[in-house]
């Protein structure tokens, strides 16, 4: 099949054995790649009951058939396993350049099993694959480490690096994995999983090409999609202002959480922290992931002041919100500095910022004091205090050790009602899009496999009007502050979004394309005779498989919930007074998804989707 290399590496870090395996064509057709294929691998070969930080939990790095083909937005890859943060299915995806390089080395994915007794890293140079000692690298931050490894392995040959920083080494539960300093597998703590295996880095260099099934069709399609993607208005917005373009618009629509989700509006915050501000004050240049015509990445520099920062990767919207609006910080330079430290240590900026916001509210309420924080003042808006706390979290020092477990566990340890202001779903802190402004996103949070997630489906773009796919059954336009019709919308968002996720197509690029464009990309690359219906069936199948894995890991209907803070109406702002109708959303969604009352997919639904083995596991 075109697009696939046919080779999966299996690396046993306990005994150093390196083997290769292949994926059945049937599974390629059914799950495509990325986290969809990774979920199938975990289901087939691994125990879902293991402790996430035990050697038995695999770390699965996976690309997809379109990665490395030079279609726009196809530089991404996924990392999956049981999440140390949530205890359920964990996954993250990111852009950058690692994914294509792995394909150029002739590899579709890597399964890491076991754990090394000493720090190691993996070097892949086409067919030459070695596990090497990393004792001299252990303790390095991601920026220093990336530079060192590139120097060591032939800077002029442009090796690509995947790495963890000290947070991953210290098993911070929301530790992230870094690709070449600026791109991160952020969510669900895959960095801690990598750290538990004492795997410090993966370095890859490849010289091969990705072969496609229909080269003529591919060439013509690629050219037209590059033009379409580049010229779309949303692409222009992202190119000129980065993802932080969402800040100013979001304040208008009630999308942005403020002060740990209790304030509804603050235009001074968005003016200070938004895309135009970032562009005008700190941007030095744009940066693009491999083969991307949008170039949404920011490279920034803070020339002077207490948050002086050398030129480096800049913050995304989520970070500008978690270290900005969520903690009432008006200083964008402070956000840039916090972003840099999260990058260097390797921590998810969403969970880190949200956990710090939780800590600030605990501080306000007297549940923690300066004595607990070793003198750090956690008054709202104090970004200097937030950064000091960030260091403690990364190093696991003092109160940092408690907070490094994430806000759900920290709330349990603090008690005294702290659970009321830990804003998470299934243990994953909710991203910076308020369901009170967009009820469909609330449903997506409740039903997302990995917990509070804004990305594994297309709800963000669809509900906020950046994109629509009427040929797939979507309406042309959706109203944010209604729960009517949102169950159907979210099911479609998931059924179309999950194949995009499995194919590792960047969501921003997906917003600029049609559903039929996505089908054509699959056909030209793999040779699969797919229709749109087949693609949507893939999405449904992948959702059911991941949901089933979640059930096997302990998820049931009671976990499909929104936190109390989000179900409390705001007094001001565009979303004032609006809350999602959770009962209606879940009732309608369960019906169209075919879930039992206990939150498991029904047997007949699984069998119809071709998941007979899962049906047996869940229903006997």
């Amino acid at each position: 099949m075109g697009g696939y290399t046919g080779k999966i590496l299996e690396i046993n870090l306990s005994n150093g054995k390196i083997e290769t395996k292949s994926i059945k064509e049937e599974d390629q057709r059914k799950f495509l790649g990325g986290s969809g294929l990774a979920a199938k691998i975990l289901f087939d070969f691994f125990d879902t009951k293991v402790d996430p930080l035990s050697p038995e939990n695999p770390l699965i790095v996976m690309t997809g058939p379109i990665v490395g083909t030079q279609f726009p937005g196809t530089s991404r890859f996924a990392v999956c396993g049981k999440s140390p943060l949530t205890g359920i299915w964990g996954e993250g995806t990111c852009g950058g350049n690692f994914g294509p390089e792995l394909k150029f080395a002739g590899i579709d994915g890597i399964i890491f099993k076991g754990a090394s007794s000493t720090p190691v890293y993996l070097i892949i140079e086409d067919n030459k694959i070695e596990i090497r000692d990393a004792k001299d690298l252990w303790g390095m931050d991601n920026y220093t480490l990336t530079d060192s490894l590139k120097e060591r392995h032939g800077k002029e040959k442009r090796p690509k690096v995947l790495s963890i920083g000290p947070a991953g080494e210290n098993l911070v539960k929301f530790a992230a994995i870094c690709n070449d300093k600026g791109d991160f597998i952020g969510r669900t703590g895959m960095g801690a999983l990598m750290g538990s295996k004492r795997l410090k880095a993966v370095v890859v260099k490849g010289t091969k090409r990705v072969e496609v099934s229909h080269p003529d069709q591919y060439s013509a399609l690629r050219q037209s999609l590059i033009t379409k993607s580049r010229d779309a208005m949303v692409a222009q917005s992202l190119r000129s202002m980065g993802s932080d373009a969402g800040m100013d618009l979001g304040m208008m629509t009630g999308d942005i959480p403020i002060k740990n989700w209790v304030v509804g509006e603050d235009f001074e915050l968005s003016a200070n922290l938004g895309g135009p501000s970032l562009t005008e004050k700190y941007l030095t240049r744009n940066h693009a992931c491999s083969f991307c015509p949008i170039a949404c990445k920011r490279v920034v520099k803070v020339d002077n002041g207490p948050f002086k920062t050398d030129e480096g990767p800049g913050p995304e919207y989520e970070t500008c919100a978690t270290f900005g609006t969520l903690i009432m910080n008006y200083d964008l330079a402070g956000v840039i500095k916090a972003n840099e430290w999260c990058n260097r240590y390797g921590m998810d900026t969403i969970t880190c910022g949200a956990t710090i916001a939780f800590a600030m509210e605990a501080f306000e309420k007297g549940l923690i004091t300066k004595k607990d924080t070793d003198g750090i003042d956690l008054t709202w808006g104090n970004i200097t205090g937030a950064i000091s706390l960030l260091h403690k979290i990364a190093k696991g020092e003092g109160i940092g050790a408690v907070l490094s477990e994430g806000s759900r566990e920290a709330a349990k340890k603090l008690g005294k009602g702290a659970e009321e202001f830990s804003v998470e779903v299934k243990g994953l802190e909710v991203p910076m899009h308020d369901p009170r402004g967009f009820h469909g996103m609330g449903l997506a949070y409740m039903t997302s496999i990995r917990g509070g997630c804004h990305l594994m489906h297309l709800a963000l773009g669809v509900e906020q009007g950046m994109s629509t796919y009427t040929e797939a059954g979507f309406q042309e336009n959706y109203i944010g502050q209604t729960s009517e019709g949102k169950a159907e919308m979210i099911k479609l968002c998931e059924d179309l979004g999950l194949p995009c996720n499995s194919l590792l197509i960047c969501e921003y690029v997906a917003w600029t394309l049609s559903a039929n464009d996505l089908v054509e990309m699959v056909r030209a690359t793999t040779g699969f005779d797919f229709t749109l219906k087949d693609l949507l069936a893939c999405g449904e199948r992948t959702w059911l498989l991941k949901r089933g894995l979640g059930n096997m890991m302990g998820i049931n209907a009671k976990d499909d919930r929104l936190p109390k803070r989000i179900l409390t109406p705001l007094k001001e702002g565009a979303a004032a007074g609006s809350i999602p109708d959770v009962e209606k959303l879940l009732r309608e969604y369960y019906e169209i998804r075919g879930l039992n009352e206990d939150g498991r997919p029904k047997r007949e639904v699984l069998i119809k989707a071709g998941l007979e083995d899962l049906a047996k596991k869940l229903h006997g």
Partner: protein
Amino acid sequence: MALTFPSAEWVEEFKRQINLSEAYKKAGATWTAGVVALIISAKPEIGLTEDVGIWLDLHQGVCRDAKIVAAEEAQKAPFCITGDYVRWKQVIKKELEPVKGMMQGKLKLKGDLPTIVRNVKGAQELVECTTRIDTKFFDE
């Protein structure tokens, strides 16, 4: 009496509504980026035989001038938003939010995007002003 969109009378009333609006005065107070022009694409089957431009000279919360102009003239404005008649009708009826419309490619923007984004509240208030005009559409 209802005013036909677009027409000189409609544009005159639009200017009046903008200058009556306290909300626009506040939201548009920082706008110094120049004229905003709208272009409504021709639709001969409903009686709109050629493209029509609406020229809005906006400055610091005040509409200094508003007039119908030829589309070629409208294109010279620093900010120019072009759309089909049906889209503008949807905007005036509040069925299409203009920034959403731009993102979805239903309205085309020429002009500095960060400036528009900074002033999106002003844009929203301008749309509110259109909803206060008793409007008659060509195809109704």
